[in-house]
C-alpha cells in the first residue's frame, strides 16, 4: 500500500508526518533543526527521498539542508545566495529606492526531471538555481533585472518570491509570484521573464490595473492543464486559461476572497480549494469558524467544508505555502495553521481530522505520495 509523507515547516523547526494509505494514523518525527525557522521543505519528484529544507534565523541567516534518505538524516548544502552583478534597488515601503538585500529562501522547487536541480525563490525577490545538488546556487538575473524590477515593492511580509510552478509538459516554462510585484512567466528556463498580471485589479495601489505591483499570495496548477492557473491574490481568487495572458475573477460566492493558500485536486483539474480569511487586517477565519471552501467548477461556485474542523473560537491563519494535496486515488488534502495544527482530509475535503495540534506556527506543508 502507498504511504503519504507530509513535510511540515514551522517557525521553530521541521517535522515529517507519515501515514499509510488510509491516512488515519500518523507518525510524527521532529523537530528537525529545532529553533530555526523552516520556511519550506519539498521532495524531488525524481527521487522522493531527496528532500530539501530552507532553514533560517534572524541570528544566523540562511542555511540549506538536504536529505537523501527521506528525512532521516540531513546534510548542510550550500547557502551562498549572491545576486548577480550590481544588486541595484527596488522600492521601499515609502516609495524610496532601497538596496536589494538577500534575507531568506521562501520556497524550494525541485526540477521535475533532475534530482540535482532545484529552484529557490528568495527574499528580496529573486530566483536562484542549483544544478549540482545544492552545492552552489546561481541567480537567474533576468527576472530581477526585468525592466520593472526597480518598481517592485515589498508586501507586509517582505518582498518575497514565494511561488514557483513548473510546466510539466515544457520545463522551460515556469510561473512565479512575488509579493507585491505580481506573477511572471518564463518560456526559456528562466533566462527572460514577462509580467502576467492582465486582469488583476488591486484597488490599494495607485494604478489598480498596473503591469506590476499586485500582491499575489499563491498560484497553483493541475499538471494535466498547464495553461490553467489558479491564484489567491491579496483579495480575489483568480484563474487564467491562457498561461497567464489574461486573468478573470472567480471569487463567486466566497464569503470573503482574502486568503493565502490555493490548491488543486490531484485528479480533478477543475476542483480547487481555498481557506477564506476575514481580511487583510484580520488574519483569521470569519466568525471563528475554520472552513475550507471547494469549487468543483474551477471557481465561482464554492461550498464550505467544515466537518471535523473547529467551528467556534478559531482564530488561526493558513499561510501561503501551507496547503498541499496527495496523489492517492481518493485525493488527500492537508493544511497547517499558525496555531500549530495540521489538518488532513483523506476524502477530497469531506472529512477532516487534526494530525497534530500543538506544533509551532506552520509555515508550509508539502505532501508526498510514496509507492
Amino acid at each position: 500500500m502507498s504511504t503519504v509523507r507530509l513535510l511540515v515547516g514551522t517557525r521553530k523547526g521541521g517535522f515529517v508526518l507519515t501515514s499509510d494509505g488510509k491516512r488515519q494514523d500518523w507518525t510524527v518525527e521532529g523537530p528537525f533543526f529545532a529553533g530555526w525557522e523552516i520556511y519550506h521543505m519539498k521532495g524531488s519528484p525524481v527521487d522522493p527521498n531527496r528532500i530539501w529544507a530552507s532553514q533560517s534565523s534572524g541570528w544566523s541567516g540562511q542555511v540549506l539542508q538536504r536529505s537523501d534518505d527521506g528525512g532521516k538524516t540531513w546534510t548542510v548544502a550550500g547557502n551562498k545566495f549572491l545576486y548577480e552583478g550590481e544588486a541595484g534597488t527596488h522600492q521601499w515601503y515609502d516609495g524610496t529606492p532601497h538596496p536589494w538585500e538577500f534575507k531568506r529562501v521562501w520556497h524550494l522547487e525541485p526540477s521535475l526531471s533532475c534530482a540535482d536541480t532545484v529552484f529557490a525563490g528568495v527574499e528580496d525577490a529573486a530566483m536562484f538555481k542549483t544544478t549540482d545538488g545544492g552545492t552552489t546556487w546561481s541567480e537567474l538575473p533576468g527576472l530581477r533585472k526585468h525592466g520593472t524590477g526597480k518598481d517592485w515593492q515589498p508586501g507586509a511580509g517582505g518582498m518575497c518570491l514565494h511561488s514557483i510552478v513548473i510546466d510539466p509538459t515544457d520545463e522551460q516554462r515556469m510561473f512565479i509570484a512575488i509579493s507585491a510585484a505580481g506573477a511572471f512567466r518564463t518560456d526559456d528556463g528562466g533566462g527572460s521573464w514577462k509580467p502576467i498580471n492582465k486582469g488583476l485589479y488591486s484597488k490599494y495601489i495607485p494604478n489598480p490595473t498596473a503591469e506590476v505591483g499586485h500582491c499575489v499570495h499563491h498560484i497553483a496548477m493541475h499538471p494535466s492543464k498547464p495553461k490553467t492557473l489558479f491564484m489567491q491574490k491579496h483579495w480575489d481568487v483568480m484563474r487564467t486559461d491562457d498561461a497567464g495572458e489574461n486573468w478573470s475573477k472567480v471569487s463567486g460566492n466566497l464569503p470573503t476572497d482574502f486568503g493565502f493558500v490555493i490548491d488543486v485536486h490531484a485528479h480533478e483539474p477543475e476542483t480547487i480549494f481555498v481557506v477564506p480569511i476575514k481580511s487583510d487586517s484580520e488574519h483569521f477565519p470569519m466568525e471563528g469558524q475554520l472552513r475550507v471552501f471547494r469549487s468543483k467548477t474551477g471557481g465561482n461556485e464554492w461550498e464550505p467544508l467544515s466537518r471535523g474542523l473547529p467551528q467556534k473560537d478559531c482564530y488561526v491563519n493558513v499561510l501561503r505555502d501551507a496547503m498541499s494535496v496527495d496523489r492517492m486515488d481518493d485525493c488527500g488534502i492537508y493544511f497547517g495553521t499558525t496555531g500549530g495544527q495540521v489538518y488532513a482530509s483523506p476524502d477530497g475535503g469531506e472529512n477532516w481530522q487534526a494530525i497534530v495540534r500543538d506544533l509551532p506556527a506552520v509555515l508550509s506543508v508539502e505532501a508526498q505520495t510514496l509507492p
Binding site: 530555526w36 534572524g58 541570528w59 544566523s60 548542510v76
Partner: protein, 99 residues
C-alpha cells in the same frame, strides 16, 4: 589553539559541543583569522556568523573577549594573548532578541 564558544543553534548546526578549538596559524591572531579557520573546519558555519560577501558580523551575533564586547572593535583587531593561547575563550553570542 583558540577556544571558541558558540551559541546553541550554531552548535547543533555544526554538530559540535558548546566549545570548539581551532588551530590558527595566522599572525597576528584576529577575529577574522579565527573565523577563517572555524569556517574551514566547520563549513556548515559559513555565512552564519559573518556575511558571505562582506565578511561583516551578522547583526544579531556578538563577540565577547575577556568579558568585553568586541562586536564593534573590528574583525582585524588583534586578540589578546589569553585568547590566543586558549586560557580564555572567544565568545560568539546570540543577541537577546526574537522569540
Amino acid at each position: 589553539m583558540v577556544r571558541v564558544d558558540l551559541p546553541a543553534h550554531l552548535c547543533r548546526l555544526a554538530g559540535v559541543a558548546h566549545e570548539v578549538t581551532v588551530a590558527v596559524d595566522a599572525a597576528p591572531v584576529t577575529i577574522a583569522a579565527v573565523l577563517e579557520v572555524l569556517e574551514r573546519d566547520y563549513p556548515a558555519l559559513e555565512g552564519t556568523i559573518r556575511e558571505h560577501e562582506t565578511k561583516q558580523r551578522r547583526a544579531w551575533l556578538r563577540f565577547f573577549v575577556c568579558e568585553e564586547d568586541w562586536s564593534h572593535v573590528g574583525m582585524d583587531a588583534v586578540l589578546p594573548e589569553v585568547i590566543v593561547n586558549g586560557k580564555e575563550p572567544l565568545l560568539v553570542i546570540g543577541a537577546i532578541a526574537g522569540g
